[in-house]
Protein backbone atom coordinates (compact mmCIF):
# COMPACT_ATOMS: atom_id res chain seq x y z
CA UNK A 1 0.00 0.00 0.00
CA UNK A 2 2.83 2.38 0.82
CA UNK A 3 4.16 2.13 -2.73
CA UNK A 4 1.02 1.22 -4.70
CA UNK A 5 -1.00 4.35 -3.82
CA UNK A 6 1.72 6.83 -4.84
CA UNK A 7 2.35 4.80 -8.00
CA UNK A 8 -1.37 4.95 -8.85
CA UNK A 9 -1.39 8.72 -8.21
CA UNK A 10 1.55 9.25 -10.58
CA UNK A 11 0.05 7.12 -13.34
CA UNK A 12 -3.44 8.67 -13.00
CA UNK A 13 -2.25 12.30 -12.87
CA UNK A 14 0.27 11.76 -15.68
CA UNK A 15 -2.29 10.21 -18.05
CA UNK A 16 -4.89 12.83 -17.12
CA UNK A 17 -2.56 15.65 -18.08
CA UNK A 18 -1.59 14.04 -21.37
CA UNK A 19 -5.27 13.54 -22.20
CA UNK A 20 -5.98 17.17 -21.27
CA UNK A 21 -3.77 18.30 -24.19
CA UNK A 22 -6.09 16.60 -26.71
CA UNK A 23 -9.44 16.82 -24.93
CA UNK A 24 -10.93 20.37 -24.85
CA UNK A 25 -13.29 19.95 -21.80
CA UNK A 26 -10.28 19.38 -19.52
CA UNK A 27 -7.71 21.50 -21.30
CA UNK A 28 -7.39 23.95 -18.38
CA UNK A 29 -6.22 21.13 -16.12
CA UNK A 30 -2.58 21.89 -16.89
CA UNK A 31 -2.95 25.45 -15.58
CA UNK A 32 -4.83 24.26 -12.47
CA UNK A 33 -2.16 21.69 -11.72
CA UNK A 34 0.58 24.29 -12.18
CA UNK A 35 -1.16 26.44 -9.57
CA UNK A 36 -1.40 23.44 -7.25
CA UNK A 37 2.38 23.05 -7.67
CA UNK A 38 2.82 26.60 -6.43
CA UNK A 39 0.79 25.80 -3.32
CA UNK A 40 2.70 22.55 -2.69
CA UNK A 41 5.97 24.47 -3.19
CA UNK A 42 5.06 26.68 -0.20
CA UNK A 43 4.76 23.62 2.03
CA UNK A 44 7.93 22.15 0.52
CA UNK A 45 9.77 25.30 1.56
CA UNK A 46 8.24 25.08 5.05
CA UNK A 47 9.49 21.49 5.13
CA UNK A 48 12.92 22.75 4.07
CA UNK A 49 12.82 25.35 6.84
CA UNK A 50 11.80 22.63 9.33
CA UNK A 51 14.73 20.50 8.20
CA UNK A 52 17.11 23.44 8.54
CA UNK A 53 15.94 23.98 12.13
CA UNK A 54 16.18 20.26 12.91
CA UNK A 55 19.72 19.88 11.52
CA UNK A 56 21.07 22.92 13.31
CA UNK A 57 19.35 22.08 16.60
CA UNK A 58 20.93 18.63 16.39
CA UNK A 59 24.31 20.25 15.74
CA UNK A 60 23.80 22.51 18.74
CA UNK A 61 22.70 19.69 21.04
CA UNK A 62 25.75 17.57 20.12
CA UNK A 63 28.11 20.56 20.33
CA UNK A 64 29.54 19.63 16.93
CA UNK A 65 32.38 21.60 15.27
CA UNK A 66 31.39 25.24 14.62
CA UNK A 67 28.13 24.76 16.54
CA UNK A 68 28.03 28.46 17.41
CA UNK A 69 27.48 29.33 13.75
CA UNK A 70 24.31 27.23 13.87
CA UNK A 71 22.93 29.78 16.34
CA UNK A 72 23.64 32.51 13.76
CA UNK A 73 21.92 30.51 10.98
CA UNK A 74 18.88 29.80 13.14
CA UNK A 75 18.80 33.41 14.33
CA UNK A 76 18.90 34.71 10.76
CA UNK A 77 16.18 32.29 9.65
CA UNK A 78 13.84 33.09 12.52
CA UNK A 79 14.46 36.83 12.22
CA UNK A 80 13.62 36.81 8.50
CA UNK A 81 10.59 34.58 9.08
CA UNK A 82 9.23 36.77 11.88
CA UNK A 83 9.91 40.00 10.00
CA UNK A 84 8.27 38.68 6.83
CA UNK A 85 5.30 36.70 8.14
CA UNK A 86 4.32 39.35 10.72
CA UNK A 87 5.17 42.16 8.29
CA UNK A 88 6.98 44.14 10.98
CA UNK A 89 7.09 47.86 10.15
CA UNK A 90 4.26 47.51 7.63
CA UNK A 91 3.13 50.99 6.56
CA UNK A 92 -0.12 49.65 5.02
CA UNK A 93 -2.57 46.77 5.52
CA UNK A 94 -2.07 42.98 5.24
CA UNK A 95 -2.22 43.10 1.44
CA UNK A 96 0.85 45.36 1.28
CA UNK A 97 3.83 43.61 -0.33
CA UNK A 98 6.62 42.47 2.01
CA UNK A 99 9.06 44.27 -0.26
CA UNK A 100 7.55 47.67 0.54
CA UNK A 101 10.09 50.22 1.77
CA UNK A 102 10.05 50.71 5.52
CA UNK A 103 9.40 47.07 6.39
CA UNK A 104 12.03 45.27 8.45
CA UNK A 105 11.94 42.40 5.93
CA UNK A 106 12.77 44.73 3.06
CA UNK A 107 15.58 46.42 5.04
CA UNK A 108 17.21 43.07 5.79
CA UNK A 109 16.75 42.03 2.17
CA UNK A 110 18.51 45.20 0.97
CA UNK A 111 21.29 45.34 3.58
CA UNK A 112 22.03 41.65 4.02
CA UNK A 113 20.49 39.35 1.40
CA UNK A 114 21.38 41.34 -1.75
CA UNK A 115 25.01 42.19 -0.83
CA UNK A 116 25.70 38.70 0.44
CA UNK A 117 24.16 37.03 -2.61
CA UNK A 118 26.06 39.29 -5.05
CA UNK A 119 29.34 38.83 -3.14
CA UNK A 120 28.96 35.05 -3.05
CA UNK A 121 28.57 34.98 -6.82
CA UNK A 122 31.30 37.57 -7.33
CA UNK A 123 33.63 35.42 -5.22
CA UNK A 124 33.31 32.78 -7.92
CA UNK A 125 35.18 35.13 -10.28
CA UNK A 126 38.38 34.34 -8.39
CA UNK A 127 37.74 30.61 -8.40
CA UNK A 128 36.81 30.64 -12.08
CA UNK A 129 40.08 32.47 -12.78
CA UNK A 130 42.18 29.99 -10.81
CA UNK A 131 40.28 26.99 -12.23
CA UNK A 132 40.73 28.22 -15.79
CA UNK A 133 44.45 28.75 -15.17
CA UNK A 134 44.70 25.05 -14.30
CA UNK A 135 42.17 23.66 -16.77
CA UNK A 136 42.78 25.95 -19.76
CA UNK A 137 45.67 24.24 -21.34
CA UNK A 138 45.49 23.36 -25.00
CA UNK A 139 46.25 19.71 -24.26
CA UNK A 140 44.16 18.36 -27.13
CA UNK A 141 41.99 19.56 -29.98
CA UNK A 142 38.77 19.77 -27.95
CA UNK A 143 40.43 21.80 -25.17
CA UNK A 144 41.97 24.14 -27.76
CA UNK A 145 38.57 24.78 -29.37
CA UNK A 146 37.06 25.55 -25.96
CA UNK A 147 39.95 27.83 -25.11
CA UNK A 148 39.78 29.75 -28.39
CA UNK A 149 35.98 30.15 -28.21
CA UNK A 150 36.12 31.42 -24.61
CA UNK A 151 38.99 33.79 -25.49
CA UNK A 152 37.12 35.29 -28.45
CA UNK A 153 33.93 35.72 -26.41
CA UNK A 154 35.83 37.35 -23.54
CA UNK A 155 37.84 39.63 -25.83
CA UNK A 156 34.76 40.42 -27.91
CA UNK A 157 33.03 41.83 -24.83
CA UNK A 158 35.86 44.22 -23.98
CA UNK A 159 37.12 47.40 -25.70
CA UNK A 160 40.54 45.73 -26.01
CA UNK A 161 39.09 43.13 -28.40
CA UNK A 162 37.67 45.85 -30.66
CA UNK A 163 40.92 47.82 -30.56
CA UNK A 164 43.12 44.83 -31.36
CA UNK A 165 41.47 44.14 -34.72
CA UNK A 166 40.13 47.57 -35.70
CA UNK A 167 42.90 47.93 -38.32
CA UNK A 168 41.34 45.20 -40.49
CA UNK A 169 39.96 46.27 -43.89
CA UNK A 170 36.19 46.41 -44.39
CA UNK A 171 36.20 43.25 -46.54
CA UNK A 172 37.61 41.23 -43.59
CA UNK A 173 35.41 42.83 -40.94
CA UNK A 174 33.88 39.44 -40.10
CA UNK A 175 37.26 38.51 -38.59
CA UNK A 176 37.24 41.46 -36.19
CA UNK A 177 37.03 39.98 -32.70
CA UNK A 178 33.66 41.58 -31.71
CA UNK A 179 32.10 40.38 -35.00
CA UNK A 180 33.64 36.96 -34.58
CA UNK A 181 32.20 36.79 -31.06
CA UNK A 182 28.74 37.67 -32.42
CA UNK A 183 29.06 35.02 -35.14
CA UNK A 184 30.11 32.36 -32.62
CA UNK A 185 27.17 33.22 -30.37
CA UNK A 186 24.69 33.27 -33.28
CA UNK A 187 25.75 30.11 -35.09
CA UNK A 188 28.44 27.79 -33.68
CA UNK A 189 27.34 28.28 -30.07
CA UNK A 190 23.67 28.09 -31.04
CA UNK A 191 24.25 24.77 -32.82
CA UNK A 192 25.71 23.26 -29.63
CA UNK A 193 22.96 24.82 -27.52
CA UNK A 194 20.29 23.34 -29.77
CA UNK A 195 21.90 19.90 -29.72
CA UNK A 196 21.87 20.07 -25.90
CA UNK A 197 18.29 21.43 -25.76
CA UNK A 198 16.95 18.78 -28.15
CA UNK A 199 18.90 16.10 -26.24
CA UNK A 200 17.38 17.29 -22.96
CA UNK A 201 13.93 17.29 -24.60
CA UNK A 202 14.34 13.69 -25.73
CA UNK A 203 15.54 12.74 -22.25
CA UNK A 204 12.61 14.46 -20.53
CA UNK A 205 10.07 12.82 -22.85
CA UNK A 206 11.50 9.34 -22.29
CA UNK A 207 11.73 9.88 -18.52
CA UNK A 208 8.15 11.18 -18.46
CA UNK A 209 6.96 8.05 -20.24
CA UNK A 210 8.90 5.86 -17.80
CA UNK A 211 7.24 7.65 -14.87
CA UNK A 212 3.72 7.58 -16.30
CA UNK A 213 3.97 3.93 -17.30
CA UNK A 214 5.25 3.04 -13.83
CA UNK A 215 8.63 1.77 -15.05
CA UNK A 216 10.59 4.39 -13.12
CA UNK A 217 9.94 3.93 -9.39
CA UNK A 218 13.10 5.21 -7.72
CA UNK A 219 11.28 8.33 -6.48
CA UNK A 220 9.25 6.07 -4.17
CA UNK A 221 12.38 5.28 -2.19
CA UNK A 222 12.95 2.03 -0.35
CA UNK A 223 10.20 -0.22 0.99
CA UNK A 224 8.67 0.95 4.30
Amino acid sequence: MRREIPLAITVFVGFLLIISVFFPPVETLGEDFSLSFDIIAVFAFFLGGGNLIRIHLKKLARRETDWMFSIVTLGGFILMLTAGLLKIGNPGDIATSVNTEGMLFESIYRSVFVPLGATMYALLAFFVASASYRAFRAKNREATILLVAAFIILMGSTPLGAMATSWMPESLSIFEIPNLAVWIMSYANLAGQRAIIIGIGLGVVSMSLRLILGVERSYLGKEG
Binding site: T73, G76, G84, L146, A188, A191, I196, S208, L209
Partner: protein, 207 residues
Protein backbone atom coordinates in the same frame (compact mmCIF):
# COMPACT_ATOMS: atom_id res chain seq x y z
CA UNK B 1 20.30 52.33 2.17
CA UNK B 2 20.75 53.96 5.57
CA UNK B 3 24.11 54.38 7.29
CA UNK B 4 23.79 51.24 9.42
CA UNK B 5 22.65 49.20 6.40
CA UNK B 6 25.70 50.29 4.38
CA UNK B 7 28.11 49.40 7.20
CA UNK B 8 26.40 46.06 7.70
CA UNK B 9 26.53 45.27 3.97
CA UNK B 10 30.22 46.29 3.85
CA UNK B 11 31.02 44.16 6.91
CA UNK B 12 29.37 41.12 5.35
CA UNK B 13 30.88 41.75 1.90
CA UNK B 14 34.39 41.90 3.35
CA UNK B 15 33.58 38.85 5.48
CA UNK B 16 32.84 36.82 2.35
CA UNK B 17 35.97 38.10 0.61
CA UNK B 18 38.07 37.17 3.64
CA UNK B 19 37.68 33.58 2.40
CA UNK B 20 40.16 34.43 -0.36
CA UNK B 21 42.83 34.50 2.34
CA UNK B 22 41.59 31.33 4.04
CA UNK B 23 38.58 29.82 5.81
CA UNK B 24 38.00 31.89 8.94
CA UNK B 25 35.40 32.83 11.55
CA UNK B 26 34.43 36.09 9.82
CA UNK B 27 33.63 34.20 6.62
CA UNK B 28 31.73 31.49 8.50
CA UNK B 29 29.69 34.14 10.32
CA UNK B 30 28.77 35.87 7.04
CA UNK B 31 28.02 32.53 5.39
CA UNK B 32 25.78 31.39 8.27
CA UNK B 33 23.89 34.69 8.19
CA UNK B 34 23.40 34.27 4.44
CA UNK B 35 22.07 30.72 4.80
CA UNK B 36 19.60 31.66 7.53
CA UNK B 37 18.44 34.88 5.90
CA UNK B 38 18.03 33.38 2.41
CA UNK B 39 16.09 30.34 3.72
CA UNK B 40 13.77 32.67 5.63
CA UNK B 41 13.48 34.99 2.64
CA UNK B 42 12.25 32.29 0.26
CA UNK B 43 9.78 30.81 2.77
CA UNK B 44 8.25 34.27 3.33
CA UNK B 45 8.16 35.20 -0.36
CA UNK B 46 6.52 31.91 -1.37
CA UNK B 47 4.03 32.13 1.48
CA UNK B 48 2.82 35.63 0.55
CA UNK B 49 3.11 35.33 -3.24
CA UNK B 50 1.84 31.78 -3.74
CA UNK B 51 -0.25 30.79 -0.76
CA UNK B 52 -1.75 34.15 0.18
CA UNK B 53 -1.95 36.00 -3.15
CA UNK B 54 -2.66 33.17 -5.61
CA UNK B 55 -4.73 30.91 -3.36
CA UNK B 56 -6.17 32.68 -0.31
CA UNK B 57 -7.01 36.01 -1.95
CA UNK B 58 -7.98 34.93 -5.47
CA UNK B 59 -9.05 31.28 -5.73
CA UNK B 60 -10.19 30.13 -2.34
CA UNK B 61 -13.24 28.42 -3.89
CA UNK B 62 -11.16 26.35 -6.32
CA UNK B 63 -11.22 22.70 -5.14
CA UNK B 64 -8.12 21.89 -7.19
CA UNK B 65 -6.06 24.32 -5.12
CA UNK B 66 -7.47 22.84 -1.89
CA UNK B 67 -6.18 19.49 -3.13
CA UNK B 68 -2.80 21.15 -3.65
CA UNK B 69 -2.90 22.62 -0.13
CA UNK B 70 -3.89 19.24 1.37
CA UNK B 71 -1.06 17.48 -0.51
CA UNK B 72 1.33 20.21 0.59
CA UNK B 73 0.28 19.63 4.20
CA UNK B 74 0.86 15.88 3.76
CA UNK B 75 4.39 16.72 2.69
CA UNK B 76 5.09 18.11 6.15
CA UNK B 77 4.40 14.63 7.61
CA UNK B 78 7.90 13.73 6.50
CA UNK B 79 9.04 15.40 9.70
CA UNK B 80 7.22 12.66 11.69
CA UNK B 81 9.17 9.43 10.98
CA UNK B 82 6.29 7.03 11.87
CA UNK B 83 3.93 8.37 9.22
CA UNK B 84 6.58 9.95 7.00
CA UNK B 85 5.70 7.55 4.15
CA UNK B 86 2.48 9.53 3.50
CA UNK B 87 4.74 12.32 2.19
CA UNK B 88 5.20 10.14 -0.92
CA UNK B 89 1.68 11.05 -2.05
CA UNK B 90 2.39 14.72 -2.81
CA UNK B 91 5.71 13.64 -4.34
CA UNK B 92 3.86 11.16 -6.56
CA UNK B 93 1.40 13.91 -7.55
CA UNK B 94 4.27 16.25 -8.45
CA UNK B 95 6.05 13.51 -10.41
CA UNK B 96 2.94 12.50 -12.33
CA UNK B 97 1.89 16.06 -13.10
CA UNK B 98 5.42 17.10 -14.04
CA UNK B 99 5.76 14.08 -16.33
CA UNK B 100 2.37 14.79 -17.95
CA UNK B 101 2.96 18.52 -18.36
CA UNK B 102 6.65 18.57 -19.19
CA UNK B 103 6.61 15.47 -21.35
CA UNK B 104 4.19 17.16 -23.72
CA UNK B 105 5.70 20.65 -23.41
CA UNK B 106 9.24 19.46 -24.04
CA UNK B 107 8.09 17.42 -27.01
CA UNK B 108 6.55 20.54 -28.51
CA UNK B 109 9.04 23.22 -27.51
CA UNK B 110 12.43 21.57 -27.05
CA UNK B 111 12.20 19.06 -29.86
CA UNK B 112 9.75 20.23 -32.54
CA UNK B 113 10.22 24.01 -32.28
CA UNK B 114 14.01 23.82 -31.99
CA UNK B 115 14.28 21.42 -34.93
CA UNK B 116 12.04 23.64 -37.03
CA UNK B 117 13.98 26.78 -36.05
CA UNK B 118 17.21 25.03 -37.07
CA UNK B 119 16.02 23.85 -40.49
CA UNK B 120 13.80 26.76 -41.58
CA UNK B 121 16.61 29.26 -42.40
CA UNK B 122 17.86 26.73 -44.98
CA UNK B 123 14.61 26.25 -46.84
CA UNK B 124 11.77 28.29 -45.30
CA UNK B 125 10.71 31.93 -45.61
CA UNK B 126 13.78 32.95 -43.55
CA UNK B 127 16.08 31.63 -46.31
CA UNK B 128 18.79 34.06 -47.33
CA UNK B 129 20.58 33.78 -50.69
CA UNK B 130 23.86 35.31 -49.53
CA UNK B 131 26.82 32.93 -49.38
CA UNK B 132 27.77 34.11 -45.89
CA UNK B 133 24.31 33.45 -44.45
CA UNK B 134 24.06 30.13 -46.26
CA UNK B 135 27.39 28.92 -44.86
CA UNK B 136 26.52 30.14 -41.37
CA UNK B 137 23.17 28.35 -41.51
CA UNK B 138 24.89 25.19 -42.73
CA UNK B 139 27.21 25.41 -39.72
CA UNK B 140 24.11 25.74 -37.52
CA UNK B 141 22.30 22.75 -39.05
CA UNK B 142 25.43 20.58 -39.32
CA UNK B 143 26.58 21.46 -35.81
CA UNK B 144 23.19 20.67 -34.29
CA UNK B 145 22.93 17.38 -36.17
CA UNK B 146 26.48 16.29 -35.28
CA UNK B 147 25.96 17.38 -31.67
CA UNK B 148 22.92 15.11 -31.49
CA UNK B 149 24.92 12.27 -32.98
CA UNK B 150 27.53 12.73 -30.25
CA UNK B 151 24.78 12.23 -27.64
CA UNK B 152 23.68 8.97 -29.26
CA UNK B 153 25.51 6.28 -27.35
CA UNK B 154 23.60 3.21 -28.55
CA UNK B 155 25.96 2.89 -31.52
CA UNK B 156 29.74 2.82 -31.31
CA UNK B 157 31.35 6.08 -32.46
CA UNK B 158 33.32 4.62 -35.40
CA UNK B 159 33.63 5.36 -39.13
CA UNK B 160 31.42 8.09 -40.61
CA UNK B 161 29.26 8.03 -37.49
CA UNK B 162 32.36 8.57 -35.34
CA UNK B 163 33.52 11.46 -37.54
CA UNK B 164 30.15 13.14 -37.21
CA UNK B 165 30.29 12.60 -33.44
CA UNK B 166 33.75 14.23 -33.40
CA UNK B 167 32.40 17.30 -35.20
CA UNK B 168 29.57 17.20 -32.64
CA UNK B 169 31.96 17.35 -29.69
CA UNK B 170 33.82 20.26 -31.33
CA UNK B 171 30.52 22.13 -31.65
CA UNK B 172 29.68 21.40 -28.03
CA UNK B 173 33.17 22.56 -26.99
CA UNK B 174 32.53 25.89 -28.73
CA UNK B 175 29.27 26.16 -26.78
CA UNK B 176 31.02 25.39 -23.50
CA UNK B 177 33.72 27.92 -24.33
CA UNK B 178 31.10 30.59 -25.07
CA UNK B 179 29.19 29.71 -21.91
CA UNK B 180 32.40 29.87 -19.90
CA UNK B 181 33.29 33.26 -21.41
CA UNK B 182 29.87 34.64 -20.52
CA UNK B 183 30.02 33.20 -17.00
CA UNK B 184 33.39 34.87 -16.42
CA UNK B 185 32.01 38.17 -17.72
CA UNK B 186 28.93 38.01 -15.48
CA UNK B 187 30.99 37.16 -12.40
CA UNK B 188 33.40 39.97 -13.22
CA UNK B 189 30.56 42.48 -13.52
CA UNK B 190 29.26 41.33 -10.12
CA UNK B 191 32.76 41.76 -8.68
CA UNK B 192 32.98 45.27 -10.18
CA UNK B 193 29.57 46.00 -8.62
CA UNK B 194 30.78 44.93 -5.16
CA UNK B 195 34.02 46.90 -5.48
CA UNK B 196 31.98 49.90 -6.62
CA UNK B 197 29.76 49.51 -3.55
CA UNK B 198 32.75 49.35 -1.21
CA UNK B 199 34.59 52.33 -2.72
CA UNK B 200 31.61 54.51 -3.61
CA UNK B 201 28.80 53.80 -1.11
CA UNK B 202 30.84 52.71 1.90
CA UNK B 203 34.15 54.57 1.74
CA UNK B 204 32.92 57.45 -0.43
CA UNK B 205 36.18 57.44 -2.43
CA UNK B 206 34.41 57.44 -5.79
CA UNK B 207 32.06 60.22 -6.78
Amino acid sequence: MDHFGIWLAAFLTLGIYSFLYRDNAWYKLSESIFIGISAGYWVVILFWDNFYAKFWLQRQDDPMLWVGAALGFLMLLRLIPKIGWIARWPLAFIDGATAGLWGMNFLASNIMVQTKATIMPLMGPAFSGSIGDLLSNLVLVGGTFCGLIYFFFSKEHKGAFGNAARVGIWTIMITFGAMFGYTVMSRMSLLIGRIDFLFRDWLGLLK
